[in-house]
Amino acid sequence: MPISALMALSYAAFAIFVIVVASKWVKWSSMPMHLRWELYPVPHEAGRNQYGGSYIEEVDYWKKPRETTLAGELKDMFSEMLFIKRVYEYKRPLWWLTYPFHAGIYLILAWFFLLFVHGILSVYISIPVLAKVVYYLIQICGTIGIIAATLGCIGLIIRRFSDKDMLNYTAGVEIFNLFFILIVLLTGIATWITYDPNFQHAMEFMKALVAFNSAYLPKLTTIAEVHVILLCLLWIYIPFTKMSHFIGKYFTFHKVLWDDELNVPGSKVEAKVRELTRLPMPWSAPHVDTGKSWDENALENPKDEWGRWKY
């Protein structure tokens, strides 16, 4: 059977999400190398990350092999990703709201993945024991996920409106984003309670998607249809907004705050520096030779009428 409109929308939402996220990733990845701007503690500094030290604590550090620890970096990364450590440490009252929200979303994402696995197991490979395990995991992740995310989302909305520190800095779109998510979650809860308490229809829906066959589609109620449509729109919308901060967060930490790669003669860093310092300077202040390269501006030392450096 051909695919239905809802299935087409689901495929499109997923594809747009992946494409836009990937293009953002490419955009951030292809930005020019910047000056070093690391901030300590840098967690990959082996033996020093506990107190925030760096390899610069060594005499002749540039001659010595770098000692880094992937485990240190992963520990910091996962404690931030999974537990939102910095909010826990520095703004605990907010953490009680933002953590269930984010943890709920992670569980919902896990729920999607499990639905997908279940779909594969239903359509292509039959492993009954695994299918059973996945079935129960779907119940756990879906139930906890949607409740936690909804409570967190409501809490964040209340906090956003009641905390002037936050409200005064909030643009309309940020309120809209929270309400958009809340509506998707609430329609999800309504669908779950009134139509799909065991996520049976969700599994069937995913089975249809995995099989590219609308014959497997369950008959959806209006609220379920509304939920699927809104959910798809949210998937499409997220990567265009700062709700996609999961992309930015990788770059802020790994490519800025933890980027301590050394420039030594003959290195790739040096080649990039050479290339970048050839760019023309567009700035207009009197001390800038506009149009000349960064290198020319920095190295040529323009002299005044007394033979002294002008700038």
């Binding site: 930005m31 020019p32 910047h34 000056l35 070093r36 690391e38 901030l39 300590y40 503690p41 107190y51 925030g52 760096s54 610069i56 604590e57 060594e58 005499v59 550090y61 540039w62 931030e80 939102i84 450590k85 910095r86 909010v87 520095y90 703004k91 933002t98 905390d163 520190d165 936050m166 005064n168 909030t170 643009a171 309309g172 940020e174 930015g248 967060k249 802020t252 930490f253 490519k255 800025v256 705050l257 050394l262 420039n263 030594v264 860093v269 040096e270 520096v273 050479r274 700035w283 207009s284 202040a285 001390h287 800038v288 960064w294 501006n297 920095a298 030392n301 002294r308 002008k310 700038y311």
Partner: protein, 539 residues
Amino acid sequence: MEILSREIKPEDAASPVDQLVKLTVRDLEKLPPPYDKPGMEPELTDPKPEWKEKYATDLDGYIAIDLPWKPKNKEEEERLIKSFLNGLNKLLTKEGNWTFLQPLLLSLEYCAKCQTCSNACPIYIMSGKQEVYKPTWRAEILRRIWKKYCTPAGKIFGKFVSGDIELNAKTLMRLAESAYRCTLCRRCTQTCPIGVDNGLISHEIRKLFSQEMGIAPKALHELGTVQHLKVGSSTGLTPDGVKDIIEFIEDDIEDKIGKRIKIPVDEKGADILLIHNAGEFLSWPENPAAFAILFEEAGISWTLSSEQVAYDAVNYGVWYDDLQLARIAAKHAEIANKLEVNKIVVGECGHAHKAITVIADRVLHDDIWIPRESCMPILWEIVKKEKINFDPEKNNFPVTLHDPCNMVRLMGVVEPQRKILRKLAPQFREMEPHGVYNYCCGGGSGFAIMQSMNFPEWRNAVATRMKFKQVLEAFKDCLDPSINKYICAPCSNCKGAIRDMLSYYQASERLSIYYGGLVELMVNAMVDLEEPFVEWEFH
């Protein structure tokens, strides 16, 4: 004078009132005993009426940018706005800002406005939580302008996406001034769950004004980097002048230790080119003297330079202008290479450490590359390898350590200086918090040298307040004025800020709290010295 009488929001940057806030001592966070009593600190003053005509007093009445840049009429205002927007667009290009494009855009794009960073800022906290000093306040103004004028979403959806902001002369004057109410200590960034860097945004605002419009505090630009390049030092010290001072230091060393040390100057082929902040030569000559004693006694091959620029380690460009930063860093490296030394070692100057070692790491290339490192590991090696005999009992007085942000949080040189103190100062105690979570001295990002008009009052009362609180707490068991206490601040600018702080709060007279560098304490502990090297006098 009209002041905004309600809570302040980011959009109030455009408010037509004279001043957004007016500070009083009663608004500020309380200090610990004995400074918890009234009358222990001076009252804050109003800006002189004539200043308001030319200078931007519109934020809080204080003036960091001591240039008469206030627009006089509508035409000038429009020119200013146009110039600002031109600069902002350049800040968003690879050509104009490859140096910080990625960090800037990430920070503009992803702030969740959760305000987790606010409580990390010592200025915001100690000001009694004045909104205009919040790390997000100035960042949000720039963010809104960027959204509104530079992004498709902002242009299409307007206020709904960008938030409310009006761009007028007041907005720009307040934005520029507020970038100089942040010491760029980046403590706020440490707390951000997304890694957004509101400290960087202050830096970029400063840069936009400087690189596009030539607007920057005189102490940083005209008397700072320009004078450094033109004359040889931001202090105005000339090559002949520095040679004279070095001779004077040699005499002084002889007086103190009974032995003449010939300080090597312009010695080709030495292992190390040691560069001090030239402020040390003028204000604290005992510091270069102590370095000379230690390096000579430890048998290190080293030299100073008397060539223009290279006898002053400072690089004020790091605070406000990437081009000026590059010019000075390149000059330092070029002169070191000419001297055929193996490496540059930076003396006790935090921002000079970061500028030449870390930031300029991606400026120097090919012929102008040279290894650069901190003096701290070398000093620790002198102690660790027992190259000199020390007697810690000579330092048996209360000592606390100030961590210069640039050296510690921003480049990870944390332990060598503490290891030295643990070894040589029996009564060493940490401030809380310390290490990479330290608080700025309040003189960071140029504040220590910005002495114009009423800015020092703000610095002393607000910016250094947290450091003063920390110092009082570190010495709370020995506040008795009969006990001399030593704040070890291994950074010239930090020392400058701490000197002014102690003077402002009269803490040397009242509590016998003094300050100095690390090498002075090391020399003070040398077994061979008959007389103490540390002098308990305020200077």
